[in-house]
């Protein structure tokens, strides 16, 4: 047993009720571990893993498609399989979840407020959610949100965190107030440089005073038309796991900039230094590094626009069909702040490419639909690879892109397997 002096165990201030709750939960944890709690989502859990405690926070899988892949159940981290992302507007059941802490409970939307403060506001101001809905013009946009670590599983040596494959991305329809309208209403000083968010999710270590994640974007991104404080997803209240009742939405940037359960924004006169803004979080080396290299913090730069990428959403990998079939394949492509200019597919590992039909985005920062027909003259095993090129002429790499310490921005071409008879 730990010796008090040695381990420096000191207690933070906390109400006895919290402590009792905590003890009760801990005991429940132990009991359910012994009994072997219900195995609800076992099929999609990491290899060999069975969830122990499903009762400690709201069940984020409620309403989600059971085929979603659960990377972690506490905190909840869940991703889609590529074929689940076939819709132009991703429905709730197929939207990935990346949580850094525990989902807040007992949210009272009718009394929800948003306070805007920080060095660079003229004066602090607080709005009720209803003020935001009634006093500002609402806007609706389809916006791509992709986790900065989507594709992390492809890096070698392995990098830390959830081992996302392809599905930590989606494009849904958000409705809310433009952040720039709000900032104008508050009044910001000329030295404003960055905005940061704070939400009410709970830290995994039980310390209610510690923010779980507090990131943000430069003022230039905050001032874009499409940067929203949203209360609605696909025409409904935002589901709890996705930030009910209010969240930031910064399309095209790492989804961690789109804070959930937001009750406070700060306007800063310098780069925001909240939780997970500093160190190596959501940062890339400023120069290419060898796989496995240590990179000093000062040589890491914050990720802004996400890179060009695409997905094959139909057919699902593994399709078998006859040689006589004309295969109609399709998917989406997106390019962070930019538009996608071209999508090509290859059935010979990149030796030759076919250019696909490509739609314009529904609005800036929405993903674009591509499609084409393929004929196969010879039976056998094929891989179909898709490659997008953005308006700057930059394409997706076929191999895994440059290794980086936290495994961000793997935008390698997506591929599926098919068998032709």
């Amino acid at each position: 047993m730990a010796k008090p002096g040695k381990h420096q165990l000191t207690k933070r201030e906390q109400s006895p009720k919290n402590r009792r709750d905590f003890l009760r939960k801990s005991i429940l944890t132990t009991i359910s571990a012994v009994l072997g709690a219900d195995i609800v989502h076992a099929a999609t859990m990491p290899d060999g893993y069975v969830p122990v405690v499903l009762s400690q926070e709201p069940d984020a899988m409620k309403g989600k498609n059971p085929e979603m892949i659960i990377r972690s159940d506490r905190p909840w981290n869940v991703e889609a399989r590529p074929h689940q992302l076939d819709d132009a507007v991703t429905p709730f059941e197929h939207i990935f979840i990346r949580n850094n802490g525990l989902i807040p409970e007992d949210i009272d939307a009718s009394n929800w407020t948003l306070t805007i403060s920080g060095e660079s506001v003229q004066q602090e101001k607080t709005y009720r959610l209803s003020d935001l809905k009634n006093n500002f013009k609402p806007y609706t946009y389809r916006l791509v949100l992709e986790c900065g670590g989507n594709g992390r599983a492809g890096f070698y040596p392995p990098t830390a965190g959830n081992q996302w494959e392809e599905g930590a991305v989606f494009c849904s329809e958000w409705t809310g107030v433009r952040l720039k309208d709000l900032l104008q209403d508050v009044g910001i000083k000329p030295d404003a440089e960055y905005i940061g968010y704070y939400g009410v999710d709970r830290h995994l270590n039980g310390d209610a005073s510690k923010p779980v994640i507090s990131r943000g974007v430069p003022i230039s991104k905050a001032m874009q038309d499409e940067t929203l404080l949203a209360w609605s997803l696909n025409g409904q209240d935002i589901p709890l796991a996705h930030g009910f009742p209010l969240r930031m939405v910064c399309g095209g940037w790492p989804a961690s900039t789109s804070g959930k359960w937001i009750n406070k924004l700060v306007v800063r006169n310098k780069e925001h230094d909240g939780e997970k803004m500093t160190g190596d979080s959501y940062r890339m080396p400023k120069y290419p590094v060898a796989p496995g290299d240590m990179v000093p913090d000062e040589d890491m730069a914050i990720i802004e626009s996400m890179p060009v990428k695409s997905l094959i959403t139909f057919p699902k990998s593994g399709a078998m069909f006859d040689r006589s079939k004309k295969l109609a394949i399709r998917g989406h492509a997106w390019a962070g702040e930019f538009e996608v200019a071209q999508v090509q597919v290859s059935v010979d590992f990149g030796a030759s490419w076919k250019t696909c039909a490509l739609k314009k985005p529904a609005n800036r920062l929405a993903w674009q639909q591509w499609s084409t027909d393929l004929m196969f003259s010879q039976p056998g095993y094929y891989e179909i690879w898709a490659k997008a090129t953005d308006s700057q002429g930059i394409s997706q790499p076929m191999v895994i892109p440059g290794w980086n310490p936290k495994g961000y921005l793997n935008n390698a071409c997506h591929r599926i397997a098919v068998k032709v008879r």
Partner: protein, 174 residues
Amino acid sequence: MKEKDKNPKTNKPLSNPNTQQLFKGLLVGVAGLVAVLMILLAAVMFFAFYDGSVEPGTAVASDSSIESKLNNEPFNGEVVDGKDVATGLVVGDGFELVRTTCTGCHSSAIILQNRFTREGWKAKIVWMQETQGLWDLGENEPAILDYLATHYSPEPPKGRRVPLRDIQWYELKN
């Protein structure tokens, strides 16, 4: 309880008519009970001690360490293919330490997903200590690192793109 199960003496006297033996058995039983009570008492005092003697706002570790101590019961979970069914962790040297130390804040799924060298695991622990409220692991740290590095170290290099795996073939209908 476990301790008693392991001790064959405790049960023997009940099926043995020899009174002296029975007396001995009872003694051992009572001694065991007293020991269990003392441990419980010690635990209660331990928590009470922390409740009372704290500088407020210093560290964050206490909640989690309380949790880890409550989890700190002898392991009696089901093991399949060398893995603890409840957590998915490989059962081997250091398993109990890791189970109790590392599943208080987040589920074991976070550990199972990751692969690092011993240095890599050490760096992750330091990161959690510096930023996430993980406490000093003290003399347990080497055993924890050994366990993690033994069972959750990087697999051989995968190359720039590995062949597609686990393809579930199906008949394409439309």
